[in-house]
Protein backbone atom coordinates (compact mmCIF):
# COMPACT_ATOMS: atom_id res chain seq x y z
CA UNK A 1 0.00 0.00 0.00
CA UNK A 2 2.61 2.49 1.01
CA UNK A 3 4.71 1.53 -2.01
CA UNK A 4 1.88 2.29 -4.36
CA UNK A 5 1.23 5.53 -2.61
CA UNK A 6 4.85 6.45 -2.87
CA UNK A 7 4.71 6.01 -6.62
CA UNK A 8 1.54 7.95 -6.95
CA UNK A 9 1.47 10.39 -4.10
CA UNK A 10 -2.08 9.86 -3.18
CA UNK A 11 -3.52 8.50 0.02
CA UNK A 12 -6.61 8.68 2.04
CA UNK A 13 -6.75 8.58 5.77
CA UNK A 14 -10.23 7.22 5.50
CA UNK A 15 -11.41 6.05 2.12
CA UNK A 16 -14.98 6.19 3.21
CA UNK A 17 -14.60 9.85 3.96
CA UNK A 18 -12.81 10.51 0.71
CA UNK A 19 -15.45 8.71 -1.32
CA UNK A 20 -17.96 10.95 0.31
CA UNK A 21 -15.86 14.01 -0.14
CA UNK A 22 -18.35 15.54 -2.50
CA UNK A 23 -21.04 15.00 0.07
CA UNK A 24 -19.01 16.98 2.51
CA UNK A 25 -20.02 20.11 0.74
CA UNK A 26 -20.19 22.89 3.23
CA UNK A 27 -23.57 22.89 4.78
CA UNK A 28 -22.53 26.13 6.35
CA UNK A 29 -25.59 28.21 6.65
CA UNK A 30 -26.67 31.27 8.47
CA UNK A 31 -27.88 30.42 11.89
CA UNK A 32 -30.87 32.33 13.09
CA UNK A 33 -29.56 35.15 15.19
CA UNK A 34 -31.40 35.85 18.38
CA UNK A 35 -32.84 39.31 18.22
CA UNK A 36 -31.69 40.16 21.72
CA UNK A 37 -28.07 39.16 21.29
CA UNK A 38 -25.75 41.99 22.24
CA UNK A 39 -23.24 42.65 19.52
CA UNK A 40 -19.89 42.89 21.25
CA UNK A 41 -18.69 45.29 18.62
CA UNK A 42 -21.54 47.70 19.35
CA UNK A 43 -21.06 47.36 23.09
CA UNK A 44 -17.36 47.93 22.73
CA UNK A 45 -17.86 51.11 20.76
CA UNK A 46 -20.54 52.38 23.13
CA UNK A 47 -18.93 51.64 26.49
CA UNK A 48 -15.17 51.18 26.11
CA UNK A 49 -14.28 54.74 27.09
CA UNK A 50 -16.66 54.81 30.04
CA UNK A 51 -15.36 51.55 31.44
CA UNK A 52 -11.74 52.71 31.09
CA UNK A 53 -12.45 56.06 32.71
CA UNK A 54 -14.27 54.43 35.59
CA UNK A 55 -11.39 52.03 36.23
CA UNK A 56 -8.85 54.87 35.91
CA UNK A 57 -10.63 57.01 38.44
CA UNK A 58 -11.38 54.27 40.94
CA UNK A 59 -8.24 52.15 40.82
CA UNK A 60 -5.66 54.46 39.26
CA UNK A 61 -3.50 53.78 36.23
CA UNK A 62 -2.41 50.33 37.33
CA UNK A 63 -1.04 47.83 37.24
CA UNK A 64 -3.14 46.30 35.94
CA UNK A 65 -3.70 49.00 33.37
CA UNK A 66 -7.40 49.89 33.07
CA UNK A 67 -7.28 49.40 29.31
CA UNK A 68 -6.01 45.83 29.77
CA UNK A 69 -8.67 45.10 32.35
CA UNK A 70 -11.40 46.55 30.13
CA UNK A 71 -10.17 44.54 27.17
CA UNK A 72 -10.24 41.37 29.25
CA UNK A 73 -13.71 42.18 30.59
CA UNK A 74 -15.14 42.74 27.11
CA UNK A 75 -13.44 39.60 25.91
CA UNK A 76 -14.94 37.51 28.71
CA UNK A 77 -18.33 38.99 28.04
CA UNK A 78 -18.00 38.16 24.35
CA UNK A 79 -17.22 34.55 25.21
CA UNK A 80 -20.40 34.13 27.23
CA UNK A 81 -23.01 31.95 25.61
CA UNK A 82 -26.05 33.67 27.10
CA UNK A 83 -25.39 37.37 26.77
CA UNK A 84 -28.97 37.79 25.62
CA UNK A 85 -30.04 37.10 29.21
CA UNK A 86 -28.02 40.03 30.49
CA UNK A 87 -30.28 43.05 30.78
CA UNK A 88 -27.58 45.66 31.31
CA UNK A 89 -24.42 44.60 29.47
CA UNK A 90 -22.46 47.70 30.44
CA UNK A 91 -23.05 47.15 34.16
CA UNK A 92 -22.22 43.49 33.73
CA UNK A 93 -18.95 44.30 31.98
CA UNK A 94 -18.05 46.72 34.77
CA UNK A 95 -18.74 43.98 37.32
CA UNK A 96 -16.40 41.67 35.45
CA UNK A 97 -13.78 44.44 35.27
CA UNK A 98 -14.03 45.13 39.02
CA UNK A 99 -13.52 41.46 39.73
CA UNK A 100 -10.50 41.27 37.44
CA UNK A 101 -8.97 44.33 39.12
CA UNK A 102 -9.57 43.03 42.64
CA UNK A 103 -8.00 39.72 41.68
CA UNK A 104 -4.83 41.61 40.90
CA UNK A 105 -4.57 43.03 44.41
CA UNK A 106 -2.20 40.65 46.18
CA UNK A 107 -3.60 41.23 49.65
CA UNK A 108 -7.14 40.34 48.57
CA UNK A 109 -5.92 37.30 46.64
CA UNK A 110 -4.10 36.06 49.73
CA UNK A 111 -7.16 36.53 51.91
CA UNK A 112 -9.35 34.72 49.39
CA UNK A 113 -6.83 31.91 49.10
CA UNK A 114 -6.59 31.62 52.87
CA UNK A 115 -10.38 31.44 53.27
CA UNK A 116 -10.66 29.02 50.33
CA UNK A 117 -8.17 26.71 52.07
CA UNK A 118 -10.33 26.67 55.16
CA UNK A 119 -13.52 26.08 53.18
CA UNK A 120 -12.38 23.50 50.63
CA UNK A 121 -15.88 22.50 49.63
CA UNK A 122 -16.88 26.01 48.75
CA UNK A 123 -14.41 27.00 46.08
CA UNK A 124 -17.21 28.22 43.87
CA UNK A 125 -17.61 31.09 46.31
CA UNK A 126 -14.47 32.55 44.87
CA UNK A 127 -15.21 31.89 41.24
CA UNK A 128 -15.04 34.71 38.81
CA UNK A 129 -18.19 36.49 37.92
CA UNK A 130 -19.89 34.39 35.29
CA UNK A 131 -23.33 33.88 33.83
CA UNK A 132 -23.93 30.88 36.04
CA UNK A 133 -23.16 32.70 39.27
CA UNK A 134 -25.16 35.68 38.15
CA UNK A 135 -28.23 33.95 36.83
CA UNK A 136 -28.41 31.13 39.34
CA UNK A 137 -27.87 33.53 42.20
CA UNK A 138 -30.48 36.04 41.08
CA UNK A 139 -32.48 35.68 44.24
CA UNK A 140 -29.51 36.34 46.50
CA UNK A 141 -28.38 39.26 44.34
CA UNK A 142 -31.87 40.77 44.61
CA UNK A 143 -31.75 40.34 48.37
CA UNK A 144 -28.34 41.91 48.75
CA UNK A 145 -29.34 44.71 46.40
CA UNK A 146 -32.34 45.40 48.58
CA UNK A 147 -30.11 45.25 51.62
CA UNK A 148 -27.64 47.80 50.27
CA UNK A 149 -30.54 50.18 49.62
CA UNK A 150 -31.41 49.99 53.31
CA UNK A 151 -27.94 51.01 54.45
CA UNK A 152 -27.07 54.51 55.56
CA UNK A 153 -24.79 56.47 53.25
CA UNK A 154 -21.89 55.97 55.59
CA UNK A 155 -22.44 52.24 55.93
CA UNK A 156 -22.72 51.86 52.18
CA UNK A 157 -19.61 53.92 51.61
CA UNK A 158 -17.52 51.86 54.02
CA UNK A 159 -18.91 48.60 52.62
CA UNK A 160 -18.21 49.55 49.01
CA UNK A 161 -14.78 50.94 49.75
CA UNK A 162 -13.81 47.68 51.44
CA UNK A 163 -15.52 45.30 49.04
CA UNK A 164 -15.50 47.08 45.66
CA UNK A 165 -12.53 49.39 45.88
CA UNK A 166 -10.54 46.84 47.86
CA UNK A 167 -9.38 49.37 50.44
CA UNK A 168 -7.96 48.45 53.82
CA UNK A 169 -9.35 50.06 56.96
CA UNK A 170 -6.31 52.34 57.08
CA UNK A 171 -6.85 53.49 53.49
CA UNK A 172 -10.52 54.15 54.16
CA UNK A 173 -9.56 56.08 57.26
CA UNK A 174 -7.00 58.15 55.37
CA UNK A 175 -9.50 58.96 52.62
CA UNK A 176 -12.45 59.79 54.84
CA UNK A 177 -11.03 60.84 58.18
CA UNK A 178 -13.14 58.25 60.01
CA UNK A 179 -11.55 56.27 62.83
CA UNK A 180 -10.68 52.59 62.53
CA UNK A 181 -13.17 51.75 65.24
CA UNK A 182 -15.91 53.60 63.40
CA UNK A 183 -15.08 51.89 60.10
CA UNK A 184 -15.04 48.50 61.78
CA UNK A 185 -18.41 49.15 63.43
CA UNK A 186 -20.03 50.50 60.25
CA UNK A 187 -18.85 47.55 58.17
CA UNK A 188 -20.08 45.01 60.70
CA UNK A 189 -23.46 46.72 60.93
CA UNK A 190 -23.78 46.81 57.16
CA UNK A 191 -22.97 43.12 56.88
CA UNK A 192 -25.44 42.27 59.62
CA UNK A 193 -28.21 44.11 57.75
CA UNK A 194 -27.41 42.37 54.49
CA UNK A 195 -27.34 38.99 56.20
CA UNK A 196 -30.66 39.52 57.93
CA UNK A 197 -32.40 40.55 54.71
CA UNK A 198 -30.85 37.65 52.81
CA UNK A 199 -32.08 35.28 55.51
CA UNK A 200 -35.51 36.81 55.60
CA UNK A 201 -36.03 36.75 51.86
CA UNK A 202 -34.68 33.23 51.67
CA UNK A 203 -37.11 31.92 54.25
CA UNK A 204 -39.98 33.87 52.72
CA UNK A 205 -39.16 32.41 49.35
CA UNK A 206 -39.35 28.92 50.78
CA UNK A 207 -42.75 29.71 52.18
CA UNK A 208 -43.71 31.10 48.76
CA UNK A 209 -45.11 34.33 50.14
CA UNK A 210 -45.98 37.35 48.08
CA UNK A 211 -43.15 39.69 47.24
CA UNK A 212 -44.92 42.71 48.78
CA UNK A 213 -44.96 40.99 52.12
CA UNK A 214 -41.29 40.11 51.69
CA UNK A 215 -40.32 43.71 51.03
CA UNK A 216 -42.21 44.89 54.05
CA UNK A 217 -40.60 42.31 56.29
CA UNK A 218 -37.15 43.07 54.95
CA UNK A 219 -37.67 46.77 55.48
CA UNK A 220 -38.95 46.39 59.04
CA UNK A 221 -36.25 43.96 59.93
CA UNK A 222 -33.53 46.18 58.53
CA UNK A 223 -34.80 49.22 60.40
CA UNK A 224 -35.05 47.32 63.67
CA UNK A 225 -31.63 45.79 63.28
CA UNK A 226 -30.07 49.06 62.25
CA UNK A 227 -31.32 50.88 65.32
CA UNK A 228 -30.39 47.94 67.56
CA UNK A 229 -26.85 47.79 66.24
CA UNK A 230 -26.31 51.51 66.32
CA UNK A 231 -27.60 52.00 69.82
Amino acid sequence: MSKALHKAPLFFINTHLKSNACDVAPTYQHKAKPATTHSIDTLFRAHWRDVCRLLHKCYGSGPPEPEDVAQEAFSRFAQMSNTADVQDPKAYIIKIAINITLKSIGRICKTRAFIAEQLPLNEELFDEICPETILQGEQRIAAIQKGTERLSDKQRDVLMRARIKGQTYAQISNDTGWSLADICRQLNTAMAILESIDDEIDSNSVKNKHSEHRDSLASNHASALQSALQS
Partner: protein, 355 residues
Protein backbone atom coordinates in the same frame (compact mmCIF):
# COMPACT_ATOMS: atom_id res chain seq x y z
CA UNK B 1 -6.15 60.25 60.39
CA UNK B 2 -2.82 58.83 59.22
CA UNK B 3 -1.56 55.44 60.27
CA UNK B 4 2.19 55.08 60.20
CA UNK B 5 2.52 51.33 59.76
CA UNK B 6 0.55 48.22 59.08
CA UNK B 7 1.64 46.84 62.44
CA UNK B 8 0.25 49.81 64.32
CA UNK B 9 -3.07 49.48 62.50
CA UNK B 10 -3.17 45.76 63.22
CA UNK B 11 -2.53 46.42 66.92
CA UNK B 12 -5.17 49.11 66.95
CA UNK B 13 -7.65 46.80 65.23
CA UNK B 14 -6.90 43.99 67.65
CA UNK B 15 -7.63 46.39 70.49
CA UNK B 16 -10.91 47.39 68.88
CA UNK B 17 -11.92 43.77 68.38
CA UNK B 18 -11.00 42.77 71.89
CA UNK B 19 -12.82 45.69 73.51
CA UNK B 20 -15.91 45.49 71.30
CA UNK B 21 -18.85 43.56 72.71
CA UNK B 22 -18.10 39.98 71.71
CA UNK B 23 -20.74 38.44 69.49
CA UNK B 24 -22.08 35.39 71.22
CA UNK B 25 -23.77 33.73 68.27
CA UNK B 26 -22.01 31.95 65.39
CA UNK B 27 -23.47 34.55 63.01
CA UNK B 28 -22.09 37.52 64.93
CA UNK B 29 -18.70 35.87 65.30
CA UNK B 30 -18.63 34.90 61.62
CA UNK B 31 -19.40 38.48 60.65
CA UNK B 32 -16.63 39.84 62.81
CA UNK B 33 -14.15 37.31 61.46
CA UNK B 34 -15.04 38.06 57.86
CA UNK B 35 -14.70 41.82 58.17
CA UNK B 36 -11.50 41.37 60.15
CA UNK B 37 -9.92 39.07 57.54
CA UNK B 38 -10.74 41.53 54.74
CA UNK B 39 -9.67 44.56 56.79
CA UNK B 40 -6.17 44.35 55.36
CA UNK B 41 -4.60 44.16 58.79
CA UNK B 42 -5.09 40.56 59.88
CA UNK B 43 -2.16 39.06 61.78
CA UNK B 44 -0.96 35.47 61.55
CA UNK B 45 -1.85 34.84 65.19
CA UNK B 46 -5.39 35.98 64.60
CA UNK B 47 -5.64 33.82 61.50
CA UNK B 48 -4.69 30.77 63.52
CA UNK B 49 -7.33 31.76 66.02
CA UNK B 50 -9.82 32.01 63.16
CA UNK B 51 -8.99 28.50 61.93
CA UNK B 52 -9.57 27.09 65.40
CA UNK B 53 -12.88 28.94 65.67
CA UNK B 54 -14.01 27.83 62.21
CA UNK B 55 -13.26 24.18 62.87
CA UNK B 56 -14.68 24.09 66.34
CA UNK B 57 -18.21 23.32 65.11
CA UNK B 58 -20.31 23.07 61.99
CA UNK B 59 -22.50 26.06 62.81
CA UNK B 60 -19.48 28.32 62.68
CA UNK B 61 -18.60 26.98 59.24
CA UNK B 62 -22.14 27.46 57.96
CA UNK B 63 -22.38 30.97 59.33
CA UNK B 64 -19.01 31.99 57.88
CA UNK B 65 -19.84 30.43 54.50
CA UNK B 66 -23.07 32.40 54.42
CA UNK B 67 -21.26 35.66 55.10
CA UNK B 68 -18.65 34.85 52.49
CA UNK B 69 -21.44 34.32 49.93
CA UNK B 70 -22.96 37.66 50.85
CA UNK B 71 -19.55 39.36 50.58
CA UNK B 72 -19.07 37.92 47.10
CA UNK B 73 -22.59 38.82 46.02
CA UNK B 74 -22.12 42.49 46.87
CA UNK B 75 -19.91 42.74 43.79
CA UNK B 76 -22.76 41.55 41.58
CA UNK B 77 -25.32 44.13 42.66
CA UNK B 78 -26.31 47.25 40.78
CA UNK B 79 -25.65 49.17 44.00
CA UNK B 80 -21.96 48.41 43.54
CA UNK B 81 -22.08 49.88 40.04
CA UNK B 82 -24.01 52.94 41.23
CA UNK B 83 -21.52 53.49 44.04
CA UNK B 84 -18.42 53.11 41.90
CA UNK B 85 -19.89 55.40 39.24
CA UNK B 86 -20.65 58.09 41.81
CA UNK B 87 -17.30 57.56 43.47
CA UNK B 88 -15.49 57.95 40.17
CA UNK B 89 -17.33 61.18 39.44
CA UNK B 90 -16.46 62.77 42.76
CA UNK B 91 -13.59 65.22 42.74
CA UNK B 92 -10.96 64.30 45.26
CA UNK B 93 -11.33 66.62 48.24
CA UNK B 94 -8.56 67.24 50.69
CA UNK B 95 -9.70 65.80 53.98
CA UNK B 96 -6.77 66.80 56.15
CA UNK B 97 -7.41 70.13 57.88
CA UNK B 98 -4.64 72.68 57.52
CA UNK B 99 -3.15 74.28 60.58
CA UNK B 100 -3.58 78.07 60.71
CA UNK B 101 -0.50 79.88 59.50
CA UNK B 102 0.67 83.42 59.63
CA UNK B 103 -0.83 85.54 56.89
CA UNK B 104 2.54 86.33 55.28
CA UNK B 105 3.53 82.69 55.06
CA UNK B 106 0.06 81.85 53.79
CA UNK B 107 0.33 84.51 51.06
CA UNK B 108 3.74 83.27 50.03
CA UNK B 109 2.43 79.74 49.70
CA UNK B 110 -0.58 80.96 47.75
CA UNK B 111 1.53 83.08 45.42
CA UNK B 112 4.00 80.31 44.76
CA UNK B 113 1.08 77.95 44.20
CA UNK B 114 -0.48 80.27 41.67
CA UNK B 115 2.87 80.73 39.94
CA UNK B 116 3.37 76.99 39.78
CA UNK B 117 -0.16 76.50 38.43
CA UNK B 118 0.40 79.12 35.72
CA UNK B 119 3.68 77.45 34.76
CA UNK B 120 2.00 74.09 34.60
CA UNK B 121 -0.80 75.49 32.47
CA UNK B 122 1.70 77.02 30.06
CA UNK B 123 3.70 73.80 29.86
CA UNK B 124 0.50 71.87 29.44
CA UNK B 125 -0.60 74.22 26.69
CA UNK B 126 2.70 73.86 24.90
CA UNK B 127 3.17 70.15 25.17
CA UNK B 128 -0.38 68.86 25.30
CA UNK B 129 -3.29 69.83 23.16
CA UNK B 130 -5.76 68.61 25.78
CA UNK B 131 -5.83 68.17 29.51
CA UNK B 132 -8.59 65.59 29.49
CA UNK B 133 -7.89 61.90 29.68
CA UNK B 134 -7.65 60.67 26.12
CA UNK B 135 -8.29 57.00 25.55
CA UNK B 136 -7.94 55.94 21.97
CA UNK B 137 -10.58 53.41 21.07
CA UNK B 138 -8.77 50.44 19.58
CA UNK B 139 -10.28 48.14 16.99
CA UNK B 140 -12.18 45.23 18.41
CA UNK B 141 -9.95 42.20 18.12
CA UNK B 142 -11.35 38.70 17.84
CA UNK B 143 -9.13 35.67 18.12
CA UNK B 144 -9.70 31.94 17.99
CA UNK B 145 -7.73 29.44 19.98
CA UNK B 146 -5.80 26.55 18.50
CA UNK B 147 -8.03 23.56 17.92
CA UNK B 148 -11.35 25.05 16.94
CA UNK B 149 -13.18 27.43 14.66
CA UNK B 150 -15.00 30.41 16.10
CA UNK B 151 -18.03 32.15 14.60
CA UNK B 152 -18.79 35.79 15.41
CA UNK B 153 -21.68 37.99 14.38
CA UNK B 154 -20.58 41.57 13.79
CA UNK B 155 -22.69 44.62 14.55
CA UNK B 156 -23.73 44.96 10.90
CA UNK B 157 -25.11 41.41 10.92
CA UNK B 158 -22.24 39.87 8.97
CA UNK B 159 -20.96 36.49 10.14
CA UNK B 160 -17.27 35.72 10.42
CA UNK B 161 -15.89 32.25 10.99
CA UNK B 162 -12.30 32.20 12.18
CA UNK B 163 -10.22 29.08 11.57
CA UNK B 164 -8.20 27.91 14.56
CA UNK B 165 -5.41 30.22 15.75
CA UNK B 166 -6.67 33.15 13.68
CA UNK B 167 -7.18 36.79 14.51
CA UNK B 168 -9.04 39.77 13.04
CA UNK B 169 -9.48 43.40 14.04
CA UNK B 170 -12.89 44.94 13.39
CA UNK B 171 -13.66 48.62 12.90
CA UNK B 172 -17.26 49.29 11.93
CA UNK B 173 -18.84 52.71 11.92
CA UNK B 174 -21.55 54.59 10.05
CA UNK B 175 -19.47 54.98 6.94
CA UNK B 176 -17.41 51.84 6.54
CA UNK B 177 -16.80 48.30 7.68
CA UNK B 178 -13.08 47.64 7.96
CA UNK B 179 -11.61 44.28 8.91
CA UNK B 180 -7.93 43.41 9.19
CA UNK B 181 -6.81 39.80 9.09
CA UNK B 182 -3.82 39.60 11.42
CA UNK B 183 -3.23 35.88 11.16
CA UNK B 184 -4.80 32.66 10.02
CA UNK B 185 -7.91 32.37 7.94
CA UNK B 186 -11.40 33.82 8.06
CA UNK B 187 -14.61 33.18 6.14
CA UNK B 188 -16.94 36.14 5.75
CA UNK B 189 -20.65 35.99 5.03
CA UNK B 190 -21.31 39.67 4.53
CA UNK B 191 -24.66 41.36 5.05
CA UNK B 192 -25.51 43.50 2.05
CA UNK B 193 -25.19 47.21 2.77
CA UNK B 194 -24.91 49.45 -0.30
CA UNK B 195 -23.95 52.44 1.84
CA UNK B 196 -20.93 50.84 3.52
CA UNK B 197 -18.17 48.93 1.81
CA UNK B 198 -17.01 45.87 3.71
CA UNK B 199 -13.24 45.60 3.32
CA UNK B 200 -10.82 42.97 4.51
CA UNK B 201 -7.13 43.82 4.54
CA UNK B 202 -4.39 41.23 4.83
CA UNK B 203 -0.85 42.52 4.47
CA UNK B 204 -0.95 44.63 1.29
CA UNK B 205 -4.04 43.06 -0.21
CA UNK B 206 -7.53 44.37 0.26
CA UNK B 207 -10.83 42.71 -0.57
CA UNK B 208 -13.83 45.03 -0.98
CA UNK B 209 -17.43 43.91 -1.13
CA UNK B 210 -20.91 45.09 -0.33
CA UNK B 211 -22.51 41.73 0.34
CA UNK B 212 -21.16 38.28 -0.46
CA UNK B 213 -19.37 35.24 0.99
CA UNK B 214 -15.67 34.68 0.70
CA UNK B 215 -12.54 33.53 2.52
CA UNK B 216 -9.28 35.37 3.08
CA UNK B 217 -6.42 33.18 4.15
CA UNK B 218 -2.84 33.95 5.05
CA UNK B 219 -1.05 30.95 3.63
CA UNK B 220 2.50 29.70 3.30
CA UNK B 221 5.36 31.94 2.15
CA UNK B 222 3.50 35.01 3.44
CA UNK B 223 0.99 34.78 0.63
CA UNK B 224 -2.66 35.73 0.89
CA UNK B 225 -5.34 33.67 -0.80
CA UNK B 226 -8.83 34.98 -1.56
CA UNK B 227 -11.58 32.51 -2.42
CA UNK B 228 -15.07 33.68 -3.32
CA UNK B 229 -18.06 31.45 -2.67
CA UNK B 230 -20.87 33.80 -3.61
CA UNK B 231 -21.28 37.22 -5.20
CA UNK B 232 -18.64 39.51 -6.57
CA UNK B 233 -15.57 40.97 -4.87
CA UNK B 234 -12.89 43.47 -5.77
CA UNK B 235 -9.36 42.55 -4.80
CA UNK B 236 -6.88 45.41 -4.72
CA UNK B 237 -3.17 45.45 -4.20
CA UNK B 238 -2.20 48.29 -1.88
CA UNK B 239 0.95 49.87 -3.23
CA UNK B 240 3.24 51.22 -0.54
CA UNK B 241 3.98 54.35 -2.53
CA UNK B 242 1.15 56.74 -3.15
CA UNK B 243 2.29 57.54 -6.67
CA UNK B 244 1.67 53.98 -7.84
CA UNK B 245 -1.74 53.10 -9.22
CA UNK B 246 -3.77 50.55 -7.38
CA UNK B 247 -4.44 47.38 -9.32
CA UNK B 248 -7.88 45.88 -8.88
CA UNK B 249 -9.16 42.50 -10.04
CA UNK B 250 -12.72 41.25 -9.83
CA UNK B 251 -13.48 37.75 -8.59
CA UNK B 252 -16.74 35.91 -9.17
CA UNK B 253 -18.14 32.88 -7.35
CA UNK B 254 -15.73 29.91 -7.23
CA UNK B 255 -12.78 32.05 -8.30
CA UNK B 256 -9.55 32.34 -6.40
CA UNK B 257 -6.53 34.63 -6.40
CA UNK B 258 -3.18 34.74 -4.58
CA UNK B 259 -1.08 37.76 -3.65
CA UNK B 260 2.33 37.98 -2.06
CA UNK B 261 3.35 39.99 0.99
CA UNK B 262 3.64 43.20 -1.08
CA UNK B 263 0.15 42.80 -2.48
CA UNK B 264 1.43 41.76 -5.90
CA UNK B 265 -0.86 39.21 -7.52
CA UNK B 266 1.14 36.02 -7.91
CA UNK B 267 -1.43 33.87 -9.65
CA UNK B 268 -4.01 34.22 -12.33
CA UNK B 269 -7.63 34.10 -11.35
CA UNK B 270 -8.35 30.38 -11.09
CA UNK B 271 -11.35 28.19 -10.41
CA UNK B 272 -11.52 26.18 -7.20
CA UNK B 273 -13.69 23.52 -5.65
CA UNK B 274 -15.68 25.15 -2.81
CA UNK B 275 -16.41 21.75 -1.28
CA UNK B 276 -12.72 21.25 -0.71
CA UNK B 277 -11.80 24.83 0.03
CA UNK B 278 -14.48 25.50 2.63
CA UNK B 279 -14.54 22.05 4.22
CA UNK B 280 -12.86 23.52 7.32
CA UNK B 281 -16.11 25.27 8.15
CA UNK B 282 -17.45 21.80 8.88
CA UNK B 283 -14.38 20.81 10.89
CA UNK B 284 -12.82 18.87 8.03
CA UNK B 285 -9.69 19.41 5.96
CA UNK B 286 -9.63 18.19 2.36
CA UNK B 287 -6.61 18.39 0.06
CA UNK B 288 -6.10 17.47 -3.53
CA UNK B 289 -2.44 17.49 -4.53
CA UNK B 290 -1.66 20.21 -2.03
CA UNK B 291 1.90 20.93 -0.88
CA UNK B 292 2.75 19.32 2.46
CA UNK B 293 3.81 22.69 3.95
CA UNK B 294 0.32 24.08 3.30
CA UNK B 295 -1.30 21.05 4.88
CA UNK B 296 0.94 21.36 7.95
CA UNK B 297 0.16 25.07 8.23
CA UNK B 298 -3.55 24.28 8.36
CA UNK B 299 -3.06 21.38 10.77
CA UNK B 300 -1.21 23.63 13.17
CA UNK B 301 -4.35 25.71 13.55
CA UNK B 302 -6.02 22.75 15.18
CA UNK B 303 -3.19 20.87 16.90
CA UNK B 304 -1.94 22.25 20.24
CA UNK B 305 1.49 20.71 19.74
CA UNK B 306 2.84 22.23 16.51
CA UNK B 307 4.19 20.18 13.66
CA UNK B 308 7.44 21.44 12.14
CA UNK B 309 8.98 20.38 8.82
CA UNK B 310 12.73 20.23 9.29
CA UNK B 311 13.65 19.06 5.82
CA UNK B 312 12.83 21.54 3.04
CA UNK B 313 12.96 18.80 0.42
CA UNK B 314 9.59 17.47 1.61
CA UNK B 315 7.91 20.87 1.77
CA UNK B 316 6.20 20.48 -1.58
CA UNK B 317 5.31 16.82 -1.33
CA UNK B 318 1.83 16.64 -2.92
CA UNK B 319 -0.81 15.45 -0.50
CA UNK B 320 -4.34 14.28 -1.19
CA UNK B 321 -6.36 13.56 1.90
CA UNK B 322 -9.59 14.12 3.73
CA UNK B 323 -9.83 14.07 7.49
CA UNK B 324 -11.62 15.71 10.38
CA UNK B 325 -9.95 17.88 13.01
CA UNK B 326 -10.07 14.84 15.32
CA UNK B 327 -8.18 12.67 12.83
CA UNK B 328 -5.05 14.80 12.55
CA UNK B 329 -2.86 12.36 14.49
CA UNK B 330 -4.08 9.51 12.29
CA UNK B 331 -3.27 11.54 9.20
CA UNK B 332 0.27 12.17 10.41
CA UNK B 333 0.73 8.47 11.10
CA UNK B 334 -0.56 7.81 7.58
CA UNK B 335 2.05 10.18 6.16
CA UNK B 336 4.82 8.16 7.75
CA UNK B 337 3.35 4.96 6.34
CA UNK B 338 2.99 6.35 2.84
CA UNK B 339 6.08 8.48 2.40
CA UNK B 340 9.78 8.27 3.27
CA UNK B 341 9.15 10.51 6.24
CA UNK B 342 9.86 10.11 9.93
CA UNK B 343 7.86 11.61 12.72
CA UNK B 344 9.78 12.64 15.83
CA UNK B 345 7.82 13.54 18.92
CA UNK B 346 9.45 16.11 21.18
CA UNK B 347 8.04 17.69 24.33
CA UNK B 348 6.93 20.87 22.66
CA UNK B 349 6.65 19.96 18.98
CA UNK B 350 6.35 17.18 16.43
CA UNK B 351 9.06 17.09 13.78
CA UNK B 352 8.64 15.84 10.22
CA UNK B 353 11.90 14.93 8.49
CA UNK B 354 13.03 12.97 5.50
CA UNK B 355 13.77 9.35 6.33
Amino acid sequence: MKYKSTESVARHLDDIQSTAPAGNTPKAQAREWLTYLYSGHATSEKREEFVLWLNSNKMNQQAFTHYQQIWQTIGMTDSAIDWITQHANQDPVAKIPHKPKRILAKSAVLLSGIAASVSLLIINGVFHTTNTLEIITPDTVFTSSIGQNRTITLSDGSDVTLAGNSSIAVDIDQNARRITLHKGSAYFDVTHDPARVFSVTAQHTQVRVRGTAFEVKRSTDNAVKISVQRGLVDVADMPEHGNLDEKVLQLHANEQLRANIDGTFISDVTQFNPETEFAWLNERLIYDNTALKSVIMDINRYKPKPVVILDKSINDLPITASFTFNQIDQMLAGLVAAYPITLIEEDTRTILAKK
